[in-house]
Amino acid sequence: MKILAIIPAFNEEKTVVKVIKEVKKELPRCDVLVVNDGSRDKTKEKVEKESIDLINLPYNLGIGAAVQTGFIFAKENNYDLAFQIDADEQHLANQIKKIIKPIQEKKADVIIGSRFLGKNSFNYSFTRRLGILIFQLTHQLLLGKKITDSTSGFRAYNKKTINFLAQNYADDYPEPEAVIKLIKNGFKVIEVFVRMQSRKQGSSSISSLNSFYYMIKVLLAIGIQSLQKSKLYNERS
């Protein structure tokens, strides 16, 4: 089984190499692709020294487009499984097996690593918790399915999903939208509990200033997504 680790990186010079090494240590046989999303620091130079694949985007396209670049790469190079892991050490390499195992066992098409599944102990800000709660309710309402951590970017995908997402992935704040899109298109999405680390380096792609825009944009996207019938896949492929 050909496995690809997709690591989107935007100004992560301090942590990206460490993440690469940890992924390699955890899964020695998997290939690693770093998508450098127009970083202005030394991310490019540092990653170039590692013997892994690196794609440099000419300017900052946004996390969604960067990850999508990874999906396109995985599709073109015929990978059977791809997982996304952040370059800022928030996602722990020793949790990777948890999210790829169900895919290897063909139990699902998509695995989301959830911080909240079965647990309540999170020390996030009030607004973040409120946002998460709103997302959970929206998902419950629209899908009739509980997704506890739809903003998590720690995910694994099988081949079918990779091919779909290579063509359908939002540019900014793509995660919750993708969950709806995938479920609406008949993909089997499962959450597993993973431990995550609080962020040491870099900042979330969701700053407090942008969180209002984030909520509105994602809710609109989710709403529209749920209106669409699942014809996207056939149309575009």
């Binding site: 794609i55 440099n56 000419p58 396209l61 670049t69």
Partner: protein, 126 residues
């Protein structure tokens, strides 16, 4: 006295709309504006010109729709046109940003392939 005033504003309006038409056509000639988008503006300026010449038409249409003050009908029409145009631009911008994203991703891939080939050559030379 009133007649003269109306006449004066009419001349100004005609002159302005004519200037607008020439300006837009000139932009298209200089390739600063694509015909596709210029067409909309030319259409708008010709309607302004037409309404400046045939003021009575504006009045008649305004009364016909039920607007007592004819210039208000003009404002309404202008607002509506402006709104449509902005919406159209948003659509064009969305389309363009999708296209530039694809281009950027493509550039990323091309550079990646290029680097791979270069490093293979370097290895062969060694």
């Amino acid at each position: 006295m009133k007649e003269v005033e109306i006449f004066r504003i009419q001349i100004i309006a005609i002159a302005v709309s004519l200037a607008l038409i020439f300006f837009i056509i000139n932009l298209i000639k200089k390739r600063k504006l694509k015909e596709k988008y210029g067409l909309l503006w030319i259409l708008a300026s010709f309607s302004i010109l037409f309404l400046s010449i045939r003021r009575d038409l504006l009045e008649k249409t305004a009364y016909f729709i039920g607007i007592d003050y004819p210039p208000a009908a003009l404002f309404l029409a202008a607002l509506f046109f402006g709104f449509l145009l902005f919406l159209y631009f948003s659509i064009v911008i969305s389309d363009l940003s999708e296209k530039t994203k694809k281009l950027a991703q493509e550039i990323g891939f091309l550079k990646f392939e290029l680097e791979k080939k270069k490093s293979r050559k370097r290895k062969r030379k060694k």
